[in-house]
Symmetry: C2
Protein backbone atom coordinates (compact mmCIF):
# COMPACT_ATOMS: atom_id res chain seq x y z
CA UNK A 1 0.00 0.00 0.00
CA UNK A 2 1.35 3.41 -0.97
CA UNK A 3 1.93 5.84 1.90
CA UNK A 4 0.02 8.39 -0.19
CA UNK A 5 -3.04 6.19 -0.57
CA UNK A 6 -6.28 8.11 -0.09
CA UNK A 7 -9.42 6.61 1.46
CA UNK A 8 -12.95 7.93 1.01
CA UNK A 9 -15.97 7.11 3.11
CA UNK A 10 -19.42 7.57 1.55
CA UNK A 11 -22.55 7.85 3.69
CA UNK A 12 -25.40 7.69 1.20
CA UNK A 13 -29.04 8.32 2.05
CA UNK A 14 -32.34 9.28 0.53
CA UNK A 15 -31.77 13.03 0.87
CA UNK A 16 -27.99 13.48 0.57
CA UNK A 17 -24.61 11.80 0.09
CA UNK A 18 -21.73 12.68 2.43
CA UNK A 19 -18.06 12.01 1.58
CA UNK A 20 -15.15 11.90 4.07
CA UNK A 21 -11.60 11.85 2.70
CA UNK A 22 -8.76 10.56 4.91
CA UNK A 23 -5.13 9.47 4.59
CA UNK A 24 -3.67 6.04 5.50
CA UNK A 25 -3.64 7.00 9.20
CA UNK A 26 -7.34 7.94 9.02
CA UNK A 27 -6.61 11.68 9.36
CA UNK A 28 -9.37 13.89 7.88
CA UNK A 29 -8.33 15.68 4.69
CA UNK A 30 -11.64 16.97 3.33
CA UNK A 31 -15.39 16.45 3.11
CA UNK A 32 -18.10 16.78 0.46
CA UNK A 33 -21.91 16.67 0.26
CA UNK A 34 -23.98 15.89 -2.84
CA UNK A 35 -27.53 14.84 -3.76
CA UNK A 36 -29.50 11.67 -2.94
CA UNK A 37 -27.77 8.27 -2.86
CA UNK A 38 -30.50 5.70 -2.24
CA UNK A 39 -29.67 2.75 -4.53
CA UNK A 40 -33.21 1.41 -4.26
CA UNK A 41 -34.86 4.65 -5.34
CA UNK A 42 -32.38 5.57 -8.13
CA UNK A 43 -29.14 3.69 -8.86
CA UNK A 44 -28.10 6.17 -11.56
CA UNK A 45 -28.55 9.22 -9.32
CA UNK A 46 -26.69 7.36 -6.58
CA UNK A 47 -23.61 6.93 -8.80
CA UNK A 48 -23.73 10.60 -9.83
CA UNK A 49 -24.03 11.73 -6.19
CA UNK A 50 -21.11 9.55 -5.04
CA UNK A 51 -18.77 10.91 -7.72
CA UNK A 52 -19.89 14.49 -7.05
CA UNK A 53 -19.36 14.14 -3.27
CA UNK A 54 -15.92 12.57 -3.92
CA UNK A 55 -14.92 15.47 -6.22
CA UNK A 56 -16.02 17.96 -3.57
CA UNK A 57 -13.97 16.20 -0.89
CA UNK A 58 -10.87 16.26 -3.12
CA UNK A 59 -11.38 19.97 -3.82
CA UNK A 60 -11.95 20.62 -0.11
CA UNK A 61 -8.58 18.88 0.57
CA UNK A 62 -6.98 21.01 -2.20
CA UNK A 63 -6.08 17.85 -4.09
CA UNK A 64 -6.18 17.57 -7.90
CA UNK A 65 -9.40 16.24 -9.49
CA UNK A 66 -7.49 13.39 -11.18
CA UNK A 67 -6.75 11.93 -7.73
CA UNK A 68 -10.27 10.46 -8.06
CA UNK A 69 -8.84 7.42 -9.86
CA UNK A 70 -6.60 6.62 -6.89
CA UNK A 71 -9.29 6.65 -4.20
CA UNK A 72 -10.16 3.56 -2.18
CA UNK A 73 -13.85 4.05 -1.46
CA UNK A 74 -16.04 2.53 1.22
CA UNK A 75 -19.71 3.28 0.64
CA UNK A 76 -22.72 2.72 2.86
CA UNK A 77 -25.84 3.01 0.75
CA UNK A 78 -29.54 2.72 1.53
CA UNK A 79 -31.20 -0.04 -0.51
CA UNK A 80 -28.30 -2.38 -1.22
CA UNK A 81 -29.74 -5.04 1.09
CA UNK A 82 -32.09 -5.72 -1.86
CA UNK A 83 -30.22 -8.16 -4.17
CA UNK A 84 -31.20 -6.31 -7.37
CA UNK A 85 -29.96 -2.98 -6.02
CA UNK A 86 -26.76 -4.54 -4.69
CA UNK A 87 -26.07 -5.96 -8.13
CA UNK A 88 -26.77 -2.62 -9.82
CA UNK A 89 -24.12 -0.98 -7.64
CA UNK A 90 -21.45 -3.73 -7.81
CA UNK A 91 -21.85 -3.86 -11.62
CA UNK A 92 -20.91 -0.17 -11.73
CA UNK A 93 -17.77 0.61 -13.78
CA UNK A 94 -16.77 3.12 -11.08
CA UNK A 95 -13.95 5.65 -11.59
CA UNK A 96 -12.10 4.77 -8.34
CA UNK A 97 -9.14 2.47 -7.53
CA UNK A 98 -11.47 0.30 -5.43
CA UNK A 99 -15.10 0.44 -4.33
CA UNK A 100 -16.32 -1.47 -1.26
CA UNK A 101 -20.07 -1.59 -0.72
CA UNK A 102 -22.20 -2.02 2.39
CA UNK A 103 -25.62 -0.88 3.60
CA UNK A 104 -26.09 2.55 5.15
CA UNK A 105 -26.99 0.89 8.43
CA UNK A 106 -23.76 -1.20 8.42
CA UNK A 107 -21.53 1.87 8.17
CA UNK A 108 -23.71 3.66 10.75
CA UNK A 109 -23.04 0.74 13.11
CA UNK A 110 -19.30 0.72 12.32
CA UNK A 111 -19.19 4.46 13.01
CA UNK A 112 -21.27 4.33 16.19
CA UNK A 113 -19.10 1.58 17.74
CA UNK A 114 -15.76 2.68 16.22
CA UNK A 115 -15.52 -0.57 14.29
CA UNK A 116 -16.30 -2.87 17.24
CA UNK A 117 -19.25 -5.24 17.51
CA UNK A 118 -22.48 -3.59 18.61
CA UNK A 119 -25.97 -2.59 17.59
CA UNK A 120 -27.86 0.44 16.39
CA UNK A 121 -31.49 1.39 15.90
CA UNK A 122 -32.14 4.17 13.41
CA UNK A 123 -35.46 5.99 13.79
CA UNK A 124 -35.75 8.76 11.23
CA UNK A 125 -37.94 8.88 8.13
CA UNK A 126 -37.52 5.07 8.17
CA UNK A 127 -36.66 2.64 10.96
CA UNK A 128 -34.27 -0.29 11.24
CA UNK A 129 -32.37 -2.32 13.80
CA UNK A 130 -28.88 -3.69 13.11
CA UNK A 131 -26.68 -6.05 15.03
CA UNK A 132 -22.95 -6.63 14.37
CA UNK A 133 -21.69 -9.82 16.07
CA UNK A 134 -18.20 -11.14 15.27
CA UNK A 135 -18.17 -8.80 12.30
CA UNK A 136 -21.36 -10.31 10.85
CA UNK A 137 -24.24 -7.88 10.48
CA UNK A 138 -27.94 -8.70 10.66
CA UNK A 139 -30.73 -6.27 9.86
CA UNK A 140 -34.19 -6.28 11.42
CA UNK A 141 -37.18 -4.33 10.17
CA UNK A 142 -36.85 -1.51 7.62
CA UNK A 143 -38.28 -2.81 4.25
CA UNK A 144 -39.65 0.58 3.15
CA UNK A 145 -42.86 2.58 2.86
CA UNK A 146 -45.77 1.88 3.21
CA UNK A 147 -45.43 -1.70 4.52
CA UNK A 148 -42.26 -1.50 6.64
CA UNK A 149 -40.42 0.97 8.87
CA UNK A 150 -42.89 0.78 11.74
CA UNK A 151 -42.27 3.37 14.45
CA UNK A 152 -40.51 5.67 11.95
CA UNK A 153 -41.41 9.24 11.03
CA UNK A 154 -43.12 8.07 7.84
CA UNK A 155 -45.10 5.45 9.79
CA UNK A 156 -46.16 8.01 12.43
CA UNK A 157 -47.27 10.40 9.68
CA UNK A 158 -49.24 7.72 7.83
CA UNK A 159 -51.00 6.56 10.99
CA UNK A 160 -51.79 10.19 11.86
CA UNK A 161 -53.34 10.81 8.44
CA UNK A 162 -55.39 7.59 8.67
CA UNK A 163 -56.69 8.61 12.11
CA UNK A 164 -57.44 12.17 10.94
CA UNK A 165 -59.53 10.90 7.99
CA UNK A 166 -61.45 8.47 10.22
CA UNK A 167 -62.19 11.36 12.59
CA UNK A 168 -63.28 13.55 9.66
CA UNK A 169 -65.89 10.93 8.66
CA UNK A 170 -66.88 10.25 12.29
CA UNK A 171 -65.70 6.68 11.77
CA UNK A 172 -63.07 6.96 14.48
CA UNK A 173 -62.48 9.03 17.63
CA UNK A 174 -62.08 12.80 17.32
CA UNK A 175 -58.46 13.97 17.32
CA UNK A 176 -56.62 17.29 17.15
CA UNK A 177 -54.44 15.61 14.47
CA UNK A 178 -57.09 16.49 11.85
CA UNK A 179 -56.77 20.25 12.43
CA UNK A 180 -52.99 19.98 12.81
CA UNK A 181 -52.61 18.18 9.47
CA UNK A 182 -54.99 20.62 7.75
CA UNK A 183 -52.91 23.55 9.05
CA UNK A 184 -49.62 21.86 8.10
CA UNK A 185 -50.81 21.22 4.54
CA UNK A 186 -52.57 24.57 4.20
CA UNK A 187 -55.82 22.95 3.14
CA UNK A 188 -58.95 21.46 4.67
CA UNK A 189 -61.28 18.47 4.47
CA UNK A 190 -60.78 16.44 1.24
CA UNK A 191 -57.94 18.81 0.30
CA UNK A 192 -55.66 16.81 2.62
CA UNK A 193 -56.40 13.68 0.57
CA UNK A 194 -55.37 15.45 -2.62
CA UNK A 195 -52.28 16.95 -0.94
CA UNK A 196 -51.01 13.60 0.40
CA UNK A 197 -52.03 11.28 -2.48
CA UNK A 198 -48.91 9.78 -4.02
CA UNK A 199 -46.84 11.24 -1.19
CA UNK A 200 -43.35 9.91 -0.50
CA UNK A 201 -42.09 8.58 2.82
CA UNK A 202 -40.52 12.00 3.39
CA UNK A 203 -43.91 13.73 2.88
CA UNK A 204 -45.35 11.45 5.57
CA UNK A 205 -42.29 11.89 7.80
CA UNK A 206 -42.93 15.65 7.72
CA UNK A 207 -46.20 14.97 9.62
CA UNK A 208 -44.40 13.16 12.48
CA UNK A 209 -43.66 16.29 14.58
CA UNK A 210 -47.43 17.00 14.65
CA UNK A 211 -47.99 13.60 16.26
CA UNK A 212 -45.47 14.22 19.05
CA UNK A 213 -46.93 17.69 19.65
CA UNK A 214 -50.49 16.37 19.83
CA UNK A 215 -49.42 13.47 22.06
CA UNK A 216 -47.61 15.83 24.44
CA UNK A 217 -50.79 17.94 24.61
CA UNK A 218 -52.74 14.86 25.68
CA UNK A 219 -54.53 13.88 22.45
CA UNK A 220 -55.49 10.24 23.05
CA UNK A 221 -55.31 9.21 19.39
CA UNK A 222 -51.83 10.74 18.96
CA UNK A 223 -50.68 9.13 22.21
CA UNK A 224 -51.91 5.77 20.96
CA UNK A 225 -49.94 6.14 17.73
CA UNK A 226 -46.71 7.19 19.50
CA UNK A 227 -47.14 4.39 22.04
CA UNK A 228 -47.57 1.79 19.27
CA UNK A 229 -44.48 3.12 17.48
CA UNK A 230 -42.44 3.10 20.69
CA UNK A 231 -43.62 -0.45 21.49
CA UNK A 232 -42.30 -1.55 18.11
CA UNK A 233 -38.92 0.07 18.78
CA UNK A 234 -38.93 -1.71 22.17
CA UNK A 235 -39.50 -4.98 20.28
CA UNK A 236 -36.68 -4.08 17.89
CA UNK A 237 -34.31 -3.47 20.85
CA UNK A 238 -35.31 -6.81 22.42
CA UNK A 239 -34.79 -8.54 19.07
CA UNK A 240 -31.26 -7.09 18.96
CA UNK A 241 -30.67 -8.37 22.51
CA UNK A 242 -31.70 -11.88 21.43
CA UNK A 243 -29.22 -11.49 18.54
CA UNK A 244 -26.47 -10.92 21.12
CA UNK A 245 -26.24 -7.13 21.35
CA UNK A 246 -27.90 -5.78 24.49
CA UNK A 247 -26.66 -2.20 24.34
CA UNK A 248 -27.37 -0.08 21.29
CA UNK A 249 -27.09 3.42 19.87
CA UNK A 250 -30.37 5.12 18.92
CA UNK A 251 -29.76 7.23 15.83
CA UNK A 252 -31.91 9.34 13.49
CA UNK A 253 -34.06 12.43 13.76
CA UNK A 254 -36.77 10.74 15.82
CA UNK A 255 -34.36 9.49 18.54
CA UNK A 256 -34.69 12.44 20.90
CA UNK A 257 -38.49 12.56 20.52
CA UNK A 258 -39.24 8.85 20.92
CA UNK A 259 -36.79 8.04 23.75
CA UNK A 260 -39.14 9.25 26.55
CA UNK A 261 -41.80 6.84 25.21
CA UNK A 262 -39.58 3.72 25.29
CA UNK A 263 -39.74 1.15 28.09
CA UNK A 264 -37.37 1.97 30.97
CA UNK A 265 -35.35 -1.25 30.51
CA UNK A 266 -34.87 -0.49 26.81
CA UNK A 267 -34.02 3.20 27.36
CA UNK A 268 -31.40 2.15 29.95
CA UNK A 269 -29.51 0.23 27.26
CA UNK A 270 -29.07 3.21 24.92
CA UNK A 271 -25.44 4.33 24.49
CA UNK A 272 -24.10 7.49 22.81
CA UNK A 273 -22.52 6.81 19.39
CA UNK A 274 -18.70 7.08 19.20
CA UNK A 275 -18.73 8.31 15.59
CA UNK A 276 -20.84 9.17 12.58
CA UNK A 277 -21.81 6.98 9.57
CA UNK A 278 -19.25 8.64 7.25
CA UNK A 279 -16.54 7.65 9.75
CA UNK A 280 -17.90 4.10 9.60
CA UNK A 281 -17.68 4.22 5.81
CA UNK A 282 -14.01 5.23 6.10
CA UNK A 283 -13.45 2.22 8.41
CA UNK A 284 -15.09 0.00 5.77
CA UNK A 285 -12.62 1.28 3.13
CA UNK A 286 -9.56 0.97 5.40
CA UNK A 287 -10.44 -2.51 6.66
CA UNK A 288 -11.49 -3.96 3.30
CA UNK A 289 -8.38 -2.62 1.56
CA UNK A 290 -5.97 -4.01 4.20
CA UNK A 291 -7.60 -7.43 4.17
CA UNK B 1 -86.91 15.91 -26.16
CA UNK B 2 -86.67 13.94 -29.39
CA UNK B 3 -88.29 10.50 -29.37
CA UNK B 4 -85.04 9.23 -30.86
CA UNK B 5 -82.88 10.65 -28.08
CA UNK B 6 -80.21 8.18 -26.94
CA UNK B 7 -78.96 7.96 -23.36
CA UNK B 8 -75.66 6.46 -22.28
CA UNK B 9 -74.67 5.38 -18.78
CA UNK B 10 -70.96 5.21 -17.95
CA UNK B 11 -69.69 3.19 -14.97
CA UNK B 12 -66.02 4.16 -14.69
CA UNK B 13 -63.55 2.46 -12.39
CA UNK B 14 -59.87 1.87 -11.89
CA UNK B 15 -59.74 -1.23 -14.08
CA UNK B 16 -62.44 -0.70 -16.71
CA UNK B 17 -65.15 1.57 -18.08
CA UNK B 18 -68.60 0.13 -18.86
CA UNK B 19 -71.11 1.85 -21.15
CA UNK B 20 -74.87 1.13 -21.32
CA UNK B 21 -76.88 2.61 -24.21
CA UNK B 22 -80.66 2.99 -23.85
CA UNK B 23 -83.54 4.75 -25.57
CA UNK B 24 -85.93 7.29 -24.01
CA UNK B 25 -87.92 4.48 -22.35
CA UNK B 26 -84.72 3.08 -20.80
CA UNK B 27 -84.72 0.02 -23.09
CA UNK B 28 -81.24 -1.48 -23.53
CA UNK B 29 -79.82 -0.96 -27.04
CA UNK B 30 -76.15 -1.91 -26.61
CA UNK B 31 -73.17 -2.07 -24.24
CA UNK B 32 -69.43 -1.41 -24.38
CA UNK B 33 -66.36 -1.94 -22.22
CA UNK B 34 -63.09 -0.01 -22.43
CA UNK B 35 -60.00 0.67 -20.30
CA UNK B 36 -59.59 2.41 -16.92
CA UNK B 37 -61.69 5.46 -16.05
CA UNK B 38 -60.45 6.68 -12.67
CA UNK B 39 -60.38 10.47 -12.91
CA UNK B 40 -58.05 10.74 -9.93
CA UNK B 41 -55.44 8.41 -11.38
CA UNK B 42 -55.55 9.67 -14.99
CA UNK B 43 -58.08 12.21 -16.31
CA UNK B 44 -56.81 11.88 -19.90
CA UNK B 45 -57.10 8.09 -19.96
CA UNK B 46 -60.56 8.45 -18.39
CA UNK B 47 -61.76 10.62 -21.30
CA UNK B 48 -60.31 8.19 -23.84
CA UNK B 49 -61.97 5.21 -22.12
CA UNK B 50 -65.38 6.91 -21.95
CA UNK B 51 -65.38 7.73 -25.69
CA UNK B 52 -64.14 4.25 -26.59
CA UNK B 53 -66.83 2.56 -24.45
CA UNK B 54 -69.48 4.84 -26.01
CA UNK B 55 -68.31 3.95 -29.53
CA UNK B 56 -68.48 0.25 -28.68
CA UNK B 57 -72.02 0.61 -27.32
CA UNK B 58 -73.15 2.39 -30.52
CA UNK B 59 -71.55 -0.35 -32.65
CA UNK B 60 -73.15 -3.01 -30.46
CA UNK B 61 -76.53 -1.34 -31.11
CA UNK B 62 -75.74 -1.23 -34.84
CA UNK B 63 -76.01 2.54 -34.78
CA UNK B 64 -73.75 4.85 -36.82
CA UNK B 65 -70.59 6.18 -35.15
CA UNK B 66 -71.69 9.80 -35.73
CA UNK B 67 -74.59 9.22 -33.30
CA UNK B 68 -71.94 9.92 -30.63
CA UNK B 69 -72.65 13.66 -30.88
CA UNK B 70 -76.31 13.12 -30.00
CA UNK B 71 -75.76 11.07 -26.84
CA UNK B 72 -76.90 12.30 -23.43
CA UNK B 73 -74.32 10.80 -21.09
CA UNK B 74 -74.47 10.14 -17.36
CA UNK B 75 -71.09 9.13 -15.97
CA UNK B 76 -70.15 7.78 -12.56
CA UNK B 77 -66.40 8.12 -12.14
CA UNK B 78 -64.01 7.21 -9.36
CA UNK B 79 -62.10 10.23 -8.06
CA UNK B 80 -64.46 13.09 -8.94
CA UNK B 81 -65.23 13.68 -5.25
CA UNK B 82 -61.80 15.40 -5.26
CA UNK B 83 -62.43 19.04 -6.39
CA UNK B 84 -59.41 19.11 -8.72
CA UNK B 85 -60.49 15.90 -10.48
CA UNK B 86 -64.11 17.05 -10.71
CA UNK B 87 -62.92 20.25 -12.40
CA UNK B 88 -60.69 18.32 -14.83
CA UNK B 89 -63.71 16.31 -15.97
CA UNK B 90 -66.26 19.13 -16.13
CA UNK B 91 -63.75 21.27 -18.11
CA UNK B 92 -63.68 18.51 -20.76
CA UNK B 93 -64.77 19.62 -24.26
CA UNK B 94 -66.61 16.30 -24.61
CA UNK B 95 -68.00 15.07 -27.94
CA UNK B 96 -71.53 14.35 -26.62
CA UNK B 97 -74.80 16.33 -26.64
CA UNK B 98 -74.66 16.49 -22.82
CA UNK B 99 -72.42 15.07 -20.09
CA UNK B 100 -73.65 14.68 -16.50
CA UNK B 101 -71.05 13.76 -13.91
CA UNK B 102 -71.26 11.99 -10.55
CA UNK B 103 -69.05 9.74 -8.46
CA UNK B 104 -68.87 6.00 -9.14
CA UNK B 105 -70.43 5.36 -5.74
CA UNK B 106 -73.38 7.70 -6.50
CA UNK B 107 -74.36 5.79 -9.65
CA UNK B 108 -73.78 2.48 -7.82
CA UNK B 109 -76.28 3.66 -5.19
CA UNK B 110 -78.76 4.84 -7.85
CA UNK B 111 -78.46 1.46 -9.55
CA UNK B 112 -78.71 -0.60 -6.36
CA UNK B 113 -81.89 1.18 -5.20
CA UNK B 114 -83.41 1.81 -8.66
CA UNK B 115 -83.14 5.56 -8.16
CA UNK B 116 -84.73 5.61 -4.69
CA UNK B 117 -83.05 6.81 -1.47
CA UNK B 118 -80.82 4.22 0.16
CA UNK B 119 -77.27 3.29 1.02
CA UNK B 120 -74.45 1.13 -0.26
CA UNK B 121 -71.11 -0.07 1.02
CA UNK B 122 -68.60 -1.05 -1.62
CA UNK B 123 -65.82 -3.38 -0.50
CA UNK B 124 -63.54 -4.23 -3.40
CA UNK B 125 -60.00 -3.04 -4.06
CA UNK B 126 -61.12 0.07 -2.16
CA UNK B 127 -63.92 0.65 0.38
CA UNK B 128 -66.58 3.33 0.79
CA UNK B 129 -69.96 3.91 2.35
CA UNK B 130 -72.60 6.10 0.66
CA UNK B 131 -75.91 7.37 1.82
CA UNK B 132 -78.59 8.93 -0.41
CA UNK B 133 -81.23 10.81 1.63
CA UNK B 134 -83.79 13.03 -0.15
CA UNK B 135 -81.61 12.77 -3.23
CA UNK B 136 -78.57 14.18 -1.41
CA UNK B 137 -75.60 11.85 -1.29
CA UNK B 138 -72.95 11.70 1.43
CA UNK B 139 -69.79 9.62 1.23
CA UNK B 140 -67.97 8.07 4.20
CA UNK B 141 -64.47 6.59 4.10
CA UNK B 142 -62.68 5.82 0.82
CA UNK B 143 -59.89 8.46 0.37
CA UNK B 144 -57.46 6.09 -1.38
CA UNK B 145 -54.37 3.98 -0.83
CA UNK B 146 -52.42 3.76 1.46
CA UNK B 147 -54.16 5.98 4.03
CA UNK B 148 -57.84 5.27 3.37
CA UNK B 149 -60.09 2.41 2.23
CA UNK B 150 -59.84 0.47 5.48
CA UNK B 151 -61.35 -3.01 5.28
CA UNK B 152 -60.83 -3.11 1.49
CA UNK B 153 -58.86 -5.66 -0.52
CA UNK B 154 -55.90 -3.28 -0.78
CA UNK B 155 -56.00 -2.66 2.97
CA UNK B 156 -56.17 -6.39 3.74
CA UNK B 157 -53.22 -7.00 1.41
CA UNK B 158 -51.15 -4.21 2.94
CA UNK B 159 -51.83 -5.40 6.48
CA UNK B 160 -50.97 -8.97 5.44
CA UNK B 161 -47.64 -7.87 3.96
CA UNK B 162 -46.81 -5.82 7.07
CA UNK B 163 -47.56 -8.82 9.30
CA UNK B 164 -45.56 -11.20 7.06
CA UNK B 165 -42.49 -8.95 7.22
CA UNK B 166 -42.75 -8.63 11.01
CA UNK B 167 -42.94 -12.43 11.23
CA UNK B 168 -39.93 -12.77 8.90
CA UNK B 169 -37.83 -10.64 11.27
CA UNK B 170 -39.30 -12.31 14.40
CA UNK B 171 -40.65 -8.92 15.40
CA UNK B 172 -44.24 -10.12 15.33
CA UNK B 173 -46.10 -13.42 15.70
CA UNK B 174 -45.47 -16.21 13.18
CA UNK B 175 -48.08 -16.41 10.42
CA UNK B 176 -48.77 -18.60 7.40
CA UNK B 177 -49.28 -15.33 5.49
CA UNK B 178 -45.49 -15.11 4.98
CA UNK B 179 -45.32 -18.37 3.04
CA UNK B 180 -48.58 -17.62 1.23
CA UNK B 181 -47.31 -14.23 0.02
CA UNK B 182 -43.94 -15.72 -0.99
CA UNK B 183 -45.76 -18.37 -3.06
CA UNK B 184 -48.14 -15.83 -4.58
CA UNK B 185 -45.27 -13.55 -5.65
CA UNK B 186 -43.02 -16.43 -6.71
CA UNK B 187 -40.16 -15.19 -4.54
CA UNK B 188 -38.87 -15.48 -0.97
CA UNK B 189 -37.53 -13.43 1.92
CA UNK B 190 -36.47 -9.90 0.85
CA UNK B 191 -37.68 -10.71 -2.67
CA UNK B 192 -41.23 -9.92 -1.52
CA UNK B 193 -40.08 -6.41 -0.56
CA UNK B 194 -38.68 -5.86 -4.05
CA UNK B 195 -41.80 -7.35 -5.66
CA UNK B 196 -44.25 -5.15 -3.73
CA UNK B 197 -42.24 -1.90 -3.57
CA UNK B 198 -44.12 0.81 -5.45
CA UNK B 199 -47.10 -1.52 -5.76
CA UNK B 200 -50.53 -0.14 -6.62
CA UNK B 201 -53.71 -0.67 -4.65
CA UNK B 202 -54.58 -3.42 -7.14
CA UNK B 203 -51.27 -5.21 -6.44
CA UNK B 204 -52.17 -5.17 -2.73
CA UNK B 205 -55.76 -6.15 -3.43
CA UNK B 206 -54.45 -9.26 -5.20
CA UNK B 207 -53.11 -10.44 -1.80
CA UNK B 208 -56.55 -10.21 -0.14
CA UNK B 209 -57.71 -13.75 -1.07
CA UNK B 210 -54.64 -15.13 0.76
CA UNK B 211 -55.81 -13.41 3.94
CA UNK B 212 -59.30 -14.96 3.80
CA UNK B 213 -57.79 -18.38 3.07
CA UNK B 214 -55.33 -18.13 5.98
CA UNK B 215 -58.07 -16.82 8.30
CA UNK B 216 -60.39 -19.69 7.35
CA UNK B 217 -57.56 -22.14 8.11
CA UNK B 218 -57.26 -20.64 11.60
CA UNK B 219 -54.18 -18.40 11.25
CA UNK B 220 -54.50 -16.01 14.20
CA UNK B 221 -52.73 -13.10 12.48
CA UNK B 222 -54.92 -13.38 9.37
CA UNK B 223 -58.04 -13.66 11.55
CA UNK B 224 -57.00 -10.51 13.38
CA UNK B 225 -56.64 -8.61 10.11
CA UNK B 226 -59.99 -9.79 8.73
CA UNK B 227 -61.70 -9.04 12.05
CA UNK B 228 -60.29 -5.49 12.09
CA UNK B 229 -61.41 -4.95 8.49
CA UNK B 230 -64.90 -6.31 9.25
CA UNK B 231 -65.14 -4.14 12.39
CA UNK B 232 -64.44 -1.09 10.22
CA UNK B 233 -67.19 -2.09 7.76
CA UNK B 234 -69.49 -2.56 10.78
CA UNK B 235 -68.61 1.01 11.81
CA UNK B 236 -69.29 2.19 8.26
CA UNK B 237 -72.73 0.53 8.32
CA UNK B 238 -73.55 2.15 11.68
CA UNK B 239 -72.38 5.52 10.34
CA UNK B 240 -74.81 5.11 7.41
CA UNK B 241 -77.56 4.27 9.90
CA UNK B 242 -76.85 7.51 11.82
CA UNK B 243 -77.06 9.29 8.43
CA UNK B 244 -80.61 7.93 8.06
CA UNK B 245 -80.16 4.81 5.95
CA UNK B 246 -80.36 1.63 8.03
CA UNK B 247 -80.54 -0.92 5.25
CA UNK B 248 -77.79 -1.08 2.66
CA UNK B 249 -76.46 -3.06 -0.30
CA UNK B 250 -72.98 -4.55 0.10
CA UNK B 251 -71.24 -4.39 -3.27
CA UNK B 252 -67.77 -5.22 -4.59
CA UNK B 253 -65.59 -8.29 -4.91
CA UNK B 254 -65.00 -8.62 -1.18
CA UNK B 255 -68.72 -8.64 -0.27
CA UNK B 256 -69.23 -12.41 -0.32
CA UNK B 257 -65.99 -13.05 1.60
CA UNK B 258 -66.37 -10.42 4.33
CA UNK B 259 -70.12 -10.86 5.05
CA UNK B 260 -69.62 -13.86 7.40
CA UNK B 261 -67.24 -11.70 9.50
CA UNK B 262 -69.68 -8.80 10.00
CA UNK B 263 -71.68 -8.33 13.18
CA UNK B 264 -75.06 -10.12 13.08
CA UNK B 265 -77.05 -6.86 13.43
CA UNK B 266 -75.14 -5.32 10.52
CA UNK B 267 -75.37 -8.42 8.31
CA UNK B 268 -79.15 -8.50 8.91
CA UNK B 269 -79.49 -5.08 7.29
CA UNK B 270 -77.87 -6.10 3.98
CA UNK B 271 -80.26 -6.03 0.99
CA UNK B 272 -79.70 -7.38 -2.52
CA UNK B 273 -79.10 -4.63 -5.11
CA UNK B 274 -81.93 -3.99 -7.60
CA UNK B 275 -79.54 -3.01 -10.40
CA UNK B 276 -75.95 -2.43 -11.43
CA UNK B 277 -73.90 0.82 -11.44
CA UNK B 278 -74.20 1.23 -15.23
CA UNK B 279 -77.99 1.19 -14.78
CA UNK B 280 -77.57 3.87 -12.13
CA UNK B 281 -75.52 5.92 -14.60
CA UNK B 282 -78.36 5.64 -17.12
CA UNK B 283 -80.76 6.91 -14.44
CA UNK B 284 -78.40 9.87 -13.85
CA UNK B 285 -78.54 10.75 -17.55
CA UNK B 286 -82.33 10.34 -17.84
CA UNK B 287 -83.11 12.31 -14.66
CA UNK B 288 -80.61 15.12 -15.24
CA UNK B 289 -81.77 15.60 -18.85
CA UNK B 290 -85.45 15.73 -17.95
CA UNK B 291 -84.90 18.22 -15.12
Amino acid sequence: MSRDQLFLGIDGGGSKCKARLVDTRGELLGTGVAGPANAFQDACQTRVSIVEAARQALADAQLPADALGGLVVGAGLAGVNIPRCHHEMTAWQHPFAAFYLATDIHVACLGAHAGADGAVIVAGTGSVGYSLVNGVGTSFGAHGFPFGDKGSGAWLGLEALKAALLAMDELGPATTLLGAIESHLGTASLGIVDAMAGGSSRDYGALAPLVFTAAAAGDAVARGIVEEGAAYLDALARRLQRAGTGEFCLLGGLAVHITPWLSADVAARIRAPLGQPDEGAVRLALTAHRR
